[in-house]
């Protein structure tokens, strides 16, 4: 069954059985390529060499960077990994959470690489991963990735006592197709049996995993891990860096979420449901899903209620009403007491609240389906906006000159927007935080879909902000570029890598000496993110400036930079900023090394390999091929 053909034909709620999980996630980003640190040029995807003092070698510059940059994690590995995440409960129907199933208390594993598509800010956070594993050898789900995860709806007000990134939260939704899922159930888990049965139904096409990350703590070595270097402040970290210590200093967030069948009418990699935006108070987004056939609704408070301290105690915002209003008529979905959304309740179901609507009249259903959803308490309120623009593949990398399209879907009160709904598009330059232009609007089809052909542009990072409107209405006003306002917007980020094809065409094989390849390609990563030199915590031990090692690993280098490996956790460079031209050059160098035909380094003597080849007959070094 083609999912696209059936998506959105009915409204739905998160299905059963559900598996609830909670624990920590470690974030270990390498931060050197952030433009705020001034040593990286995101347009050319190279070191900003104007920042290197005259007479300073690349090696000395590399060694001085930890102190120059004053980053909290100069040697980050980019690893994003669940830590002590466990199944906390399972549910096979509304209102019922069991903690006796054999899968409960079993680990949930995810290990990937955290990469910001935008070097300028945090709006494009992604995790490239290969699989998610729930359980152990006896009761286990293993689900392979189709697409990377993206953080959405970042809320910097999630924690009232923590500021900045520490107090921020994000919602992640990743869809895992059925053909990559295996379930092993030697432990006789009921929920896994139910899940296997559910996945055999035509309306289910895999698993959906929605989780929330929040309450981020920094400088946790020795607390959330056993690393030996344990700075507790920027000053202590700088002191350790100044003594040449090379280690990770990851941050840790709480992760809480739910895994459930992915219904054919749900979006891929984007939360399904109607979205309520904050009107007053410090609350975050609320997602509401309604299923008329089942006479149920699910209020997802996963992002809604702030915490007030580092222990993630929920704020008491009093009694909370969720209603729908249409033409002056109001229908109430539910009234919640603080005990319904306190930390214990949140942890129990990852913020999902199932609501029985079996008593609702047909007029009530009409109000619910056509009206505007609202959430209100004495101190906070939120209200639904008419349209949701689903950008499943939010982050895109493209080589300069290449064209690429992404698919949008416009939802109107939880249903596909009517044919002909318009989508306004404004293009911004992420690096200068300025508006570039407004593009011609898109028009949706019968199912709310529209295809956006990303304009071919020069190298850099651009964003496209989408806003849907009725064809009979005026287009909504353009909002100025704003990092914070992105949390309320639907957008796509596009990183265009420079066209280095000419460079690739201009170098001959004879020019590809180690020195050239290091200074032109490896150095960009070796200098700015010298994590490959790491000998412990965790050990990597593959310095990019080690010629012998790099030559010995030429085959592996070629595998890791292969474009086909782009979505994998092991792809190199982890920052995904190797242009097509540079990749080709590196592949050529690998081939030369593997053929034992890489040119020597004679540049210091002023004798380039090309000159040498002109002057002298090359030596025959190849072994005879018996084949």
């Amino acid at each position: 069954m083609d999912p696209k053909k059936t998506w959105g034909l009915t409204m739905t709620t998160p299905a059963f059985p559900r598996i609830y999980i909670k624990g920590l996630v470690s974030w270990d980003p390498g931060l050197t390529n952030g433009s705020g640190f001034g040593f990286y040029d995101p347009v050319t995807a190279t070191i900003d060499r104007s920042q290197i003092p005259a007479g300073t070698s690349l090696q000395d510059f590399r060694d001085s960077l930890p102190l120059l940059r004053q980053s909290w994690n100069h040697y980050g590995t980019h690893i994003a990994e669940f830590r002590d995440v466990k199944v906390t409960g399972v549910s096979n129907g509304p209102g019922n959470v069991s903690i006796t199933d054999p899968i409960v208390e079993k680990p949930v594993e995810m290990k990937g690489k955290l990469v910001d598509v935008s070097a300028a800010n945090d709006n494009g956070t992604q995790v490239f991963f290969d699989k998610i594993v729930v359980g152990d050898a006896f009761s286990k789900i293993e689900a392979k990735r189709q697409r990377r995860m993206t953080a959405r709806f970042i809320n910097f007000d999630r924690n009232t006592s923590l500021s900045g990134a520490a107090g921020a939260s994000a919602v992640w939704e990743v869809s895992l197709p059925e053909d990559g899922i295996s379930i092993q159930n030697f432990g006789n888990s009921t929920v896994l049996s139910d899940l296997e049965s559910a996945l055999s139904l035509p309306e289910h096409i895999g698993l959906s995993f929605r989780f929330h990350t929040y309450r981020t703590l920094y400088y946790r070595n020795g607390i959330d891990n056993s690393y030996k270097h344990r700075p507790r402040s920027r000053e202590e970290l700088t002191e350790l860096y100044s003594h040449g210590h090379n280690f990770s200093n990851p941050a840790y967030s709480i992760v809480c979420g739910v895994i459930r069948p992915w219904r054919v009418d749900e979006h891929q990699d984007h939360p399904t449901g109607r979205v309520l935006y904050r009107q007053n108070g410090g609350i975050g987004k609320t997602f509401v899903s309604i299923d008329r056939a089942a006479e149920r609704a699910v209020i997802d408070l996963g992002e809604t209620i702030p915490e007030v301290d580092a222990d993630a105690t929920k704020q008491d915002i009093g009694e909370v009403r969720v209603t729908s209003e249409h033409n002056g008529t109001e229908v109430e979905l539910v009234t919640l007491q603080p005990s319904d959304y306190d930390r214990a309740s949140y942890d129990r179901t990852a913020g999902l609240i199932d609501v029985d609507l079996s008593g609702l009249s047909s007029d009530g259903w009409k109000t619910l389906e056509e009206g505007t959803l609202k959430l209100s308490s004495a101190t906070a309120s939120a209200e639904e906006r008419t349209y949701v623009v689903v950008v499943g593949e939010r982050d895109t990398y493209v080589d300069e000159g290449d064209s690429v399209s992404i698919e949008l879907r416009v939802m109107d009160h939880g249903k596909p927007a009517p044919n002909g709904t318009l989508v306004k598009i404004v293009e911004f330059d992420e690096l200068t935080a300025t508006e570039i232009r407004e593009l011609p609007p898109l028009t949706t089809d019968n199912s709310g879909y529209a295809t956006f052909d990303i304009p071919v542009a020069g190298p850099g990072i651009r964003s496209y902000v989408f806003d849907a409107y009725e064809p009979t209405s005026a287009a909504p006003p353009t909002r100025p570029y704003g990092f914070a306002s992105r949390a309320d917007e639907y957008f796509a980020l596009v990183r265009t890598l420079p066209n280095d094809d000419a460079l690739e065409a201009s170098v001959t094989d004879a020019d590809l000496t180690w020195r050239w390849i290091y200074e032109t390609i490896f150095a960009e990563f070796d200098v700015l993110n010298p994590v490959m030199t790491r000998r412990s915590e965790p050990s990597i031990n593959t310095p990019l400036h080690d010629r012998t090692l790099m030559e010995s690993k030429a085959k592996r280098v070629k595998e890791l930079i292969d474009q086909r490996a782009f979505e994998t956790a092991s792809y190199m460079p982890v920052t995904r900023d190797l242009s097509r031209g540079r990749r080709k050059i590196l592949e050529r160098w690998c081939d030369l090394v593997l053929r034992d035909d890489a040119p020597g380094d004679l540049l210091l003597a002023g004798l380039t390999p090309t000159v040498m080849r002109e002057r002298y007959q090359p030596l025959e070094t190849d072994q005879p091929d018996n084949g």
Binding site: D136, A137, F138, K144, N225, S226, T542, S552, Q623, N626
Partner: protein, 437 residues
């Protein structure tokens, strides 16, 4: 069966007069023998070169045994702190033992002796302080390997806090006799006796090249040895890295110190976290060959992966042996080296798959009530001998490839298997084109 016996005597005693000669087994039970001991020369006497080759074969088997046990213990550790860090440390030590094993092969090449990648499982090597046993990491295991790598207790600095009686009690062994050190001492003495004339410089192109194995990066004690002095220096470095008679000048500390550190941390971890377990519940001595053994991998898929694991392990050892028969300028040698890198990665991946499968269904449980999962068996084939004729070596490689592909087609996770098969199929084609077999 051992064709030669080893005898020990106390340092300072005069062999042939007052020395009390004891076998390793009896020395082990004599606690009053704690302290420096010497390994006696062979009786009846052997030519010094032959005696040195004999002792190097013994050393190779010890290194192989140690690296297998370290790997198994490392793979038994869960993906969480602090076990993740211990695993990293144990794998680094196993890699260094691999460096020792390659260095011993270099010395054997220099002496004109046969290569030896074998391992003696049972009866266990007389030099080894406890029987070869693949088991998940425990305080007892750590205490045992600390004893195995321990230098003369008299030279251990007091600030290290080393309590021999406590370690011995934790090990549940009486293994306080420094027999491995005595072995290397005698080999060094023999190198002196053999002299430059006994070492063949023409073996250098065949010896393992430290650059090929990234010796500097991975802290491997691996050099070529073309004469007596180079051989002695290499042997002293091996002893230093293992037991730390003197701590290495640069790089990580000796195996003894690193293992003692993990031992202390593991004990502290258990004190701090009552009820916690150090390792996953892996079987002791997993096997795919003996259905009556406790460690038998009875689950069909675990058995299939175990069979494939053993074959890949066999294969990588054969590749090491094979490439050392080829001259450094031979591109076939480079090809074999690239295979070993892929194979070692595949072994690690297979180990990860095995510990994600039950050993048997219905499950067996460990003493903590946890169901036991499968473990990588690391079993050896009937023989690791290389065929005598070069062409037959490539035929053997091709057979191993075909057989391994068939084994991988028999496992449950065909996605992973397909990726592994994709690594191997080009080898079959390469052998066919290059060697016509």
């Amino acid at each position: 069966m051992l064709r030669r016996r080893f005898e020990f005597y106390r340092e300072g005693d005069d062999v042939g007069k007052d020395a009390v000669m004891m076998t390793a087994e009896s020395a082990k039970s004599k606690l009053h023998w704690a302290g420096p001991i010497k390994l006696a020369r062979q009786s009846p006497p052997m030519d010094p070169i032959d005696e040195m080759i004999f002792l190097l074969h013994t050393a190779a088997e010890i290194e192989h045994s140690l690296l297998a046990q370290y790997l198994y213990a490392a793979w038994s550790l869960p993906e969480r702190e602090p076990q993740r860090r211990w695993r990293e440390g144990l794998i680094a030590i196993a890699r260094e033992e691999m460096g020792h094993l390659m260095s011993v092969q270099n010395l054997l090449l220099a002496l004109g002796g046969g290569l030896n990648f074998e391992r003696e499982d049972y009866p266990f090597n007389e030099f080894y302080p406890f029987p070869f046993r693949l088991e998940p990491l425990s305080v007892q295991l750590l205490a045992r390997v600390v004893l195995a790598e321990m230098p003369d207790p008299a030279i251990i600095p007091p600030e290290l806090g080393f309590d021999l009686a406590q370690v011995r009690a934790d090990a549940d062994e009486q293994g306080d006799v420094d027999r491995v050190g005595a072995l290397f001492e005698l080999i060094i003495q023999l190198a002196e006796e053999v002299g430059n004339a006994g070492f063949n410089g023409d073996s250098l192109p065949f010896q393992a090249d430290p650059n090929d194995w990234w010796a500097c990066i991975f802290n491997l004690v691996l050099t070529k040895a073309g004469d007596r002095d180079e051989a002695k220096k290499l042997l002293e470095k091996i002893a230093e890295q293992g037991e730390g008679h003197t701590e290495p000048d640069v790089g990580p500390s000796s195996h003894f110190r690193r293992l003692f550190e993990v031992y202390n941390e593991a004990k502290q971890f258990l004190d701090d976290s009552p009820g916690a377990q150090l390792a996953l519940p892996l079987p002791v001595n997993p096997t795919v060959n003996d259905p009556d053994a406790d460690g038998y991998l009875g689950l069909e898929d675990a058995h299939a992966w175990g069979v494939a694991f053993n074959q890949r392990f066999h294969w990588v050892l054969l590749e090491f042996a094979h490439l050392l028969t080829l001259d450094a300028s031979d591109s076939d040698r480079r090809e074999l080296r690239s295979w070993t890198v892929v194979d070692m990665r595949a072994l690690s991946e297979m180990a990860g798959i095995l510990i994600g499968l039950p050993q048997v269904i219905p499950p067996k449980f460990d003493s903590f009530g946890r169901p036991i999962v499968a473990g990588p068996p690391l079993e050896l084939p009937h023989s690791l001998s290389l065929p005598d004729r070069p062409i037959d070596r490539w035929r053997a490689q091709a057979r191993l490839a075909h057989q391994h592909i068939a084994q991988l087609r028999n496992v449950g996770d065909q996605t992973t298997a397909a990726s592994m098969i994709a690594d191997i199929e080009p080898r079959v084609e390469w052998i066919r084109k290059r060697h016509g077999v």
